[in-house]
Every structure is written in structure tokens, then in C-alpha cells.
Amino acid sequence: MRKLYLGVTLLLTSLTAQAQFIQMKKTYTGSYYGFKSIDPAGLNKFVVGFNERYGGGMSEKFHQYKGGEFGQTFTTSGFRFIFGNGENKWTLSTDYAFGSGKDKNKAVFTNGVEQRMEVRYSSNFVTTTFGRTFKENKYWLEGMLTTNLSKMFIEYTTVYPNGQESFGSEYRLNGLYTANLKTMEFGVQATYKYKKYLLFARAFAPIFVMGPDEKERNFVDERNNNTKPTDFPSDYNSYVDNPASYVSDNGQLKSTNFKGISYGFGFIYLIGKEQ
């Protein structure tokens, strides 16, 4: 990775030295909405197990996940270069984007109690793009390489019939669970430039998982003081019936379930004078 950055830096330095070669160098900022498709199997295994176990006493069950619930709104900023001679030129950029999305779910019991599960998913994209421009720099087509640092949260609470919401220890599953995932992703981006505004569409697919270590991809609540382990379960029946061994039996929810393709649309504003 260091070599890649060093290479990019050397390239940019070299290009800067040849100012006439560079057609545009700009900082930019913008926003886009990203659709995300995850593997819902881990979450649904929990939902199905929970609903089956308590279904007779429930007036509303947890809904199952389809995998597309975690769309994210991103803000982004970065640096863009267009260089070369001739009608079609090269373009290169590096940017950072932060996006987050969430889904709310609840189960209602006939005695008036609710349990709520809010799943939040945030991504930090560090992206390098490289591609060609067409039609006097109006259209761009690029390949992208991204490091995606993701963080997932599950807030699990109990709401009593008087409306009070509890994160407390009285129900073992109550808590604030977090998990991490770092993936390398490849993507493509198509852009239309109008004056200082860019409209673009981009799509990513994960290539491989960079981290954390496989044993550290669970959803953990460090402050849960019930009997360990307290990792958020995927196999709920195992979590209740075999509380000591459900993690060693691989019955916990994994952050790798949140790896998946994503695509989005947005706009960017080029800062400074038009070039």
C-alpha cells in the first residue's frame, strides 16, 4: 500500500513539474447515496430463531432482512487531476467518503413489552480512481480501488409497557454491540461534467477482507456484565440453550455478513475557478 501511495505521489509531482501537461487540478466536495447489498443470512437466522421461540407470545414479530436495508448517505471530498494531450485525456483522483445508514426492527409481546433492535452501518471509503476523459473532458470513465473501513452497531433494548426503554442488565441481550470490517474493493465510476458540477454513478464489489482477525469479527458489547460469552447471536436457540458454547459452536453474528456489493449516485462540486 505504501508503494502505491509513493507511486501516486511521484506521478503527481512529476505531472506538476510539467504544468502544461495538466489540464485541471481541483479539490472537490460532494454527496451521494449508496445502495448496499449485504448477506442477510446471519441476521435472519437470529430473527427466525427468536420469532420461532417466542412466536406464540408475540403480537408482532421481528421482520426478516432482505439485504438492501442498509443504504448509506455519503459525504465526500478529494483531489482531482486531468492530464495529457489530445482530445481524450487521463484523469486521476483520490478521495475520502463517509456514509452511514440504519434499520429499525421490533418485536411486540402480548404482555405489553417490546424488544427493539436498531442496526447501524457506517463506512469510511478511501478511494483512488484512474481513467479516461472523453468529449473535451465532459465524460469520464474510471476504475477505482477502495479501502472500506466499516463499523457496525446493534442497539438492543427492552421497552416496558409504561414506555420506558432500557439498555439494562435485566435482559441478557440488552446492550450496545459493535463490530468492525476492513475490505479492499474494486469499482467503476462514470461521470458527467457540467461547468463546476459533476454528476456521477459508481459501483463497488469487495475483493477481499483485510481485517480484523477472523476471531475479532463478532458483535461485542464490552459493558454487558452477564455470564460470558455475550457476543450478539445468530443462532438464538443455541444462545439461550447452550449459553457457554454458542460462540465456540459458531452461533454468533459475524461482521463479514455485511460485506457486499454497493452502488450509488451523486454530485460533486469542483472548488475554485473553472478550468
Binding site: G112, V113, Q164, E165, S166, G168, E170, L176, N225
Partner: protein
């Protein structure tokens, strides 16, 4: 100049975001009075039956362990129940990124399991805090029935209202 302004704005927003948690925890530091303590039973119909409602029943002092500690503080908590019992705890207080829980580490006993008193933060203002803790079917904090919410007829709630007195 425009670029410089945007960079300054972005840096300021980032710093504000990083310091939000620190500010929230910093806001807890000080001397507090337990202005009100309510223990009640919640029925499945949603009504609250008061078991105890007392005023000015203790105090709490929260202090920094060191200036940069964001999620852990020192706490000295004393509560006098109406029956003469006292909960006197001197130790560590932890919270989460979003300050939704307050954890008194080993406030109930001295073991690795079932000893932390976990409060849910109902209200968090500069000069007023409302926290609550719960139980199920007559058992506080760590009841035997801790999985099936439908297998209970009533729940216990302890709610304290704290006011700053410094």
C-alpha cells in the same frame, strides 16, 4: 482563500465530532444530589405502582481519573433507602460512545459477572440527570428469567433524578 475557508470548516467539524463524547463525559464531572428516588412496579397494563418515593436521599461525586479519560471516571455514590439500607459505592463509572448507559463497575458485588450496576440514561442535561435501572418479576438487575420477555407479569424500575449542586 475559498479553499482555505473550506479546509478550516472541515477541520473544525472533525474536531467538534471527536470532542462530543469528551464533552458529554466532562459534563458529568462535579457534585450531584439525588433529588428524587422512585422505586416502582410496572404492570403489563403499563401502570406504575410506587413502592418508594423519597427526596434528597444521597449524593454523588464524579471526578476525572486523568484529563484525557473520555469513557471512564471516578465516582463516589451514596444512596439512603427509606428502610435504612445504604448503597455506598466508590469506584469507576463507564459510559458508551453515545452516552446512553452509565455503568457503575462492581457496584453490586466483587466478581467478574453480575456485579455492575447498569443505568439507562433517560435524560442528560448540564444540571440534571435522570437514570433508571430495572428488574424482572421481583428480582433486581440480574434476574433468573433474563431471556423471555413474555414470561413475566411485572417489572421493577428504580429511577433517580440527580441535580448538580456545584
Amino acid at each position: 482563500m475559498q479553499k482555505f475557508g473550506i479546509l478550516i470548516l472541515a477541520a473544525a467539524l472533525t474536531m467538534m465530532s471527536c470532542n462530543k463524547q469528551k464533552r458529554k463525559m466532562k459534563g458529568l464531572v462535579g457534585n450531584w444530589t439525588i433529588e428524587q428516588s422512585e422505586r416502582m412496579t410496572i404492570t403489563s397494563g403499563g401502570s406504575e405502582m410506587t413502592d418508594e418515593d423519597i427526596s434528597n436521599c444521597g449524593d454523588m461525586v464524579i471526578s476525572d481519573i486523568h484529563e484525557d479519560s473520555t469513557t471512564v471516571k471516578n465516582v463516589d455514590f451514596t444512596y439512603y433507602a427509606s428502610n435504612g439500607d445504604t448503597l455506598d459505592f466508590v469506584g469507576k463509572l463507564y459510559t458508551d460512545d453515545k452516552n446512553k448507559r452509565i455503568v457503575f463497575k462492581n457496584a453490586l458485588c466483587d466478581s467478574t459477572v453480575g456485579c455492575d450496576l447498569i443505568w439507562t440514561v433517560d435524560k442528560s442535561k448540564k444540571n440534571k440527570q435522570i437514570w433508571s435501572a430495572y428488574g424482572v418479576d421481583g428480582e433486581w438487575f440480574y434476574p433468573t428469567n433474563n431471556s423471555d420477555p413474555n414470561n413475566a407479569n411485572q417489572w421493577l424500575m428504580w429511577r433517580i433524578t440527580l441535580t448538580r449542586n456545584d
